[in-house]
Amino acid sequence: MKFLLIEDNADLARSVAARLSLDGHAVDLAGSLAAAEDHLAVATYDLILLDIMLPDGDGRDFLRTHRAANRDTPVIVMTARSEVSERIAMLDTGADDYLTKPFDFNELGARARAVLRRRDGAASTERSFADLVFDPLTATVRLGDETRELRNRELRLLEIFFSAPDRIYSKDQLCDRLFSAAESVSDNAIEVYVGRLRRKLEGSQARIETVRGVGYRLTAQ
């Protein structure tokens, strides 16, 4: 996906861009509303991430202009305010969703998927491996004519495997990406979710293989 990140804090902007590019996304940075308008004039984006306090104006003004101009690129607002009312005010102004800093990128991913799912005609995000078609946007896997729904953690786990098939991930690596650092995770938690995902992939040539003593990988029979 292609993101436009409108954020005046350069450190944060660079780190977010670096983090998103790890997931294979392209990110353009705009440090001001004027820069954002320049980018939007020449390129199209799948998603805009918008900070509220900007040097040349308020993010809310951007939202109003954006909606008034009938541009339909979804916008997720990032702010330091955590009040629910603030979120509702942003949604009323035209934001598609709202994220409180600091955020977990899993949460950004979940919100981005939810926002894109609501849009008609969003670009397909389908990916396939062997005979398996995976659509993160709709949280489904398709096997021939059969569509199976994935729960959030199954989806994120499959996303990790899909991003680098055949690569072996250790339990710890998977744990770090699937669970937030703030929650406590039991030792067999990953096994539980790998077990569930395997059931969702039953009948497919694609399978999740246990590499004894090392971890797991997605492989085709």
Binding site: S15, P102, E107, D176
Partner: protein
């Protein structure tokens, strides 16, 4: 005059002082009217008595055989006009009483010429007024001293004086009552501007901190300017608080976001077990800081909003749904889902939206935080009489051995949650909101597993 300080109200003090003054003036009026009346009554009696005495004295003729006395009865008829009064007279030639009442009291002063001397005495048990004149009459060629004394009882005078006194008393009373009414009106007029100022300020909503601009008497101007100064300082302090909270949030959370993102990146690109373990700790600490900062700011917002309430009419169902929708993506990350049950009709509540949302959000956050995943979090809203009850039920680890009440203390955390990031402020915020909204809050272990948080609030 020393103003008695025991009066609590200016109006009372003013009324009492004015009434005292009016009573004093009424009394003075009464006394002086009575004094003037008795003086004038006495003067008129004296002039009649004097005229009668002189008339008698003038009729005395000296002769060869002695003194010829011709009482002019017209003189007595003048005196007789005053009704039941008795009249006495005594005429002396030299030291001898020649006619009249021999024991009629003599004047103390020396009589000179035809100028009457007046005096009052008691005679035959009644007070009488007397006039005396003396003259010389030639008897057998020798001048003899003749004295004429005429006395009159004072019944008629006293009746007139008492009648006039009654009138004076009535006049004094009338004056007093008129003054009392005027005193009340005056006190009302003086206190009126104070009352209307107080009423105008008192009628304001809690957020109305505008300066008082209504015209007031100049004596009240210092009070109003002090009040306006206080309002201005309060407004500045409140807006500083709000700005501070917003800026603190921004300045704490933006660097934390940067830190967190870098840590996530490092986690993704590192394969080193040791490094990954450290990064996990960094992320945990970052989440801990961000959560604590969030709740401290929340706590500040709740404290500030409790004083500075912007109450509005809300539907609790909508508030719950808003909070739930905001939390849904976070819950989804743990494969948790919400089950919301609310009544069919609106659940009206008059409250500060931010306070209410803070409480519900903290409860929902807790439920998400302490749930293990795959479970449902139930949000139930029920109405019973005038009370709305919001129950948030999870299937998490529950409260352990702690009592719900202990957990609402500031920075208190459960004995069973050391592995989960938290500040210990969440339930304190909920409890404070419950108190500010005149409701109640309790949290308890749920049958089976999990916790049940119950927030009860009065309906609008």
């Amino acid at each position: 005059m020393k103003v008695p300080l025991r009066f609590k109200s200016i109006r009372q003090r003013l009324v009492v002082l004015l009434l005292l003054a009016a009573a004093l003036l009424s009394l003075l009026l009464f006394i002086s009217v009575r004094a003037i009346a008795s003086a004038s009554v006495q003067a008129s009696q004296d002039s009649i008595l004097g005229a009668a005495t002189i008339a008698i004295a003038e009729e005395l003729r000296g002769g060869e055989e002695g003194v010829a006395i011709e009482i002019p009865y017209a003189a007595f008829s003048m005196l007789g006009s005053s009704g039941e009064d008795r009249i006495f007279y005594r005429i002396l030639v030299g030291e001898d009483t020649v006619t009249g009442y021999g024991d009629l009291p003599m004047p103390v002063a020396e009589l000179t010429g035809l100028e009457p001397v007046f005096y009052s005495r008691d005679y035959q048990g009644d007070p009488i007024r007397l006039a005396a004149v003396g003259r010389s009459v030639l008897v057998e060629g020798t001048p003899r001293r003749v004295q004429v004394i005429v006395g009159q009882t004072r019944t008629g005078q006293e009746m007139i004086i008492s009648r006039m006194s009654n009138r004076a008393a009535a006049l004094g009373m009338g004056f007093f009552f008129l003054s009392a009414v005027l005193a009340l009106l005056t006190a009302q007029a003086v206190v009126g501007p104070v009352n209307s100022l107080a009423e105008a300020v008192g009628r304001r909503g809690p957020q109305d901190l505008r300066a008082v601009t209504r015209p007031v008497p100049e004596e009240l101007a210092p009070l109003v300017s002090a009040l306006n100064g206080l309002m201005a300082r309060l407004t500045a302090a409140l807006s500083r608080t709000e700005t501070f909270i917003a800026e603190a949030a921004h300045h704490i959370r933006t660097p934390l976001a940067t830190l967190r993102t870098h840590a996530e990146i490092a986690q993704r690109i590192s394969e080193e077990q040791e490094v990954l373990a450290r990064l996990r700790e960094i992320l945990r600490a970052a989440d801990d800081s961000s959560r604590s900062a969030g709740q401290l700011l929340d706590h500040a917002t709740v404290a500030y909003r409790t004083d500075q309430r912007a109450e509005e009419d809300l539907d609790l169902r909508a508030v719950m749904a808003d909070v739930m929708r905001a939390a849904e993506p976070t819950a989804e990350l743990k494969d948790l889902h919400f089950e919301l049950s609310v009544p069919d009709g609106p659940v009206p509540i008059h409250a500060d939206r931010l306070l209410l949302e803070s409480a519900v959000r903290n409860l929902v956050d807790n439920a998400i935080k302490y749930s293990d995943g795959d479970d449902a979090i139930e949000l139930r809203l029920t109405v019973d009489g005038g009370t709305a009850t919001l129950a948030i039920l999870d299937r998490g680890r529950g409260l352990g051995t702690m009592q719900g009440r202990d957990l609402t203390r500031r920075f208190a955390r459960g004995s069973n949650v050391s592995d989960v990031v938290g500040s210990g402020l969440g339930l304190t915020i909920v409890r404070e909101v419950a108190r500010a909204l005149s409701g109640s809050f309790r949290i308890e272990n749920r049958e089976g597993k999990g916790a049940c948080a119950i927030l009860s609030l009065p309906l609008a």
